[in-house]
Symmetry: C4
């Protein structure tokens, strides 16, 4: 792909505003779920903000698709991460790593190594997945009569135990909606976790090889 | 193996009918387990359908073995997936991926990459294993006096928590039959999950390398 | 190492008797734990058999060490599996895979591929670890006042949930001895499981590549 | 890096005293947490010792940074393990493996292989993480009104079930502080565990290849 292509120029111009928009989206959702005593006017503001931002993200996706000149299913496959964050806008803040890369690149600094980049991405994804999942499950479970999830702190503890596959079972979702979100979290969390541990393991091997080269021979 | 060999021609002709038969097999088993108030005539129809289809699958396996001209244990080893789906016909719909490959090939489209194929296979296997396991365990547990599995939804939730190795323990099988099926699910699920996460991790590394090449150098 | 060395000849002559002895050892331990109403004479026979066999295994280890002509810590490192099965004789039946290899080799048959061998070893080890661990934990827990492990079936179910890291928590050891054995099982089980899933994942990739080569090109 | 550089000489001279200091640090923390009936004078001695040692570790880190002549974030990245053990001094005894390497090197012995070194590091890290985490969580949970963690033995059992991701849930932290430490343990434990199982799997493959070469051909 040519670096002066319309696609590349679109990406350079929209990266930062869209990243800020994605933070606003996440904040609006969190406010909607956590601030239970919010006046109903502000609740409507939150929903409207989220809807507007989602449409913005969708428009960006369509523009990218058009500019890329590719046929649709092919575009969705080659721009896998874009497709994921359009469907699940709560995960959109993940675009921070390409953003960081782009900024660092503009300053002529060396970029992160491949391992470090995969670990950053996967760790951030895991954190976001956990936070968004805890919000979504808490929203489902809050009203349930026999729930064991009494506060958002409980939801975060449950999310940590679920994504790490520890699964104590002291707190578990009981509603159909909560369990559906939980199954999505398990699937995503396992894949991301595999990526984190796999990359960490390779990184550790690399660090050890490098450290061992620095050891002083006694002669 | 020659592409015009009797084996290859047999495979081309039987792939689609056998795949449809395997869907009927799974549907008959699900209907048998889930439709509790089904009249006993239809229950017999379900069992008979399953038996007939199983014999059909076995016959296909024997024909393939004869056409391949190989000795038996060697054939079972080199056609590992065929052997598995003859023993566990509930998993036979897995043949969908070779089918999709074959159809796409006929149209001259590029096939899926190796990673994508392994991920599709392993994810589909995991879903099927979970669905079939939930059905089988639910069948065992339904009548048990001190069961915690009160509906098929509970069984699906239990299967997801088991295959992902989260294991909350809010719902667990208590009968000997249910626990035996569960141990099979753990063994199969772990192996498949390892294949999914391993391939996903490699795929992510590949995607990141590709994305990083597309970043615009500023000069 | 020379194939006519005293070490190799010792190995060829003792492999089969020692394997049979290890099965007797495991059976004696199982009988001792499971047959609660056994007369005390037979209990003593079991303990004596186990002690005698352990001394036999230790003698074999010392002879091997002497014949190898290596210094001790080096020998223990290069013959890692031998050292493990001397310390934990319940795991000694693992020597079946070298035995199977040796027999197959004598008949001029091709040996198992490396992946298949690692998977066999690790799966068998996992099974043995689970069986021996279930026996050992059951022995500890049987008399405990507030135990949740009421039968050997419960112990097997607990061992499966532990080694697969599912960990429902419906049955857990409560005694100090039972928990100590359980921690050993977790450590060993995790390492072996990683070996199984890693090898299976590689094997699956291999099988898929091979299968894809067999697909008929349409031309 | 030059072997006679001030950095290398500093490392050679301080390695052993700092390792002993880190053992004292861990012992002081353990004494402080476990010896509940300790007179308050000795409790103050423990805290003061820990504070003094922490400042010593920080001073060592600053000296190393200055001697290395690198800019700060770069130094923190290239000396990743040093940075970790300054922030979490409970994990400092991990420096034992470089120490062991250095001593063995001085004696002209061959060093451990890369796999063995990663496994040692990661296993020791896991043990230390588990022990330090059990101490820290026990300190948080001891006073809680509805805790299920009644003794340090319970805390160790909980830590083993957590780091192995088994997660029975028979004992779980209920305080905010205990859960925070637990989430840190899950994150660290998973990464380290991945490194252990990954390296063990590679090591097993290596051992099997080597053993298979030693098998006597019959001819």
């Amino acid at each position: 792909m040519d670096d002066d292509s319309p696609y590349a120029r679109w990406e350079q111009r929209t990266e930062i505003p869209l990243f800020l928009a994605s933070l606003v989206f996440l904040a609006a959702y969190a406010a909607r779920v956590l601030a239970e005593s919010m006046p109903s006017f502000w609740k409507d503001v939150c929903w409207f903000t989220m809807l507007a931002l989602w449409m913005l993200f969708a428009a960006d996706y369509v523009v990218r698709w058009r500019l890329s000149g590719q046929r649709f299913p092919h575009f969705a496959r080659t721009h896998f991460l874009h497709t994921v964050v359009v469907v699940l806008p709560l995960l959109r803040p993940l675009r921070i790593v390409p953003l960081y890369d782009a900024i660092q690149h503009r300053q002529g600094e060396p970029r992160l190594s491949l391992h470090a980049r995969v670990i950053s991405y996967a760790s951030l994804s895991t954190l976001l997945l956990g936070f968004a999942g805890a919000l979504a499950v808490y929203q489902q479970e809050r009203g349930a009569p026999d729930t064991t999830m009494h506060s958002f702190g409980d939801a975060v503890w449950w999310a940590a135990a679920t994504i790490s596959t520890v699964g104590y079972g002291d707190i578990t979702p009981v509603t159909r909606g909560g369990r559906t979100v939980a199954i999505g979290m398990m699937a995503g969390g396992l894949a991301l976790l595999g990526a984190v541990t796999g990359s960490f393991s390779s990184w550790l091997l690399q660090i050890f090889s490098r450290e061992s080269d620095k050891k002083p021979p006694e002669s």
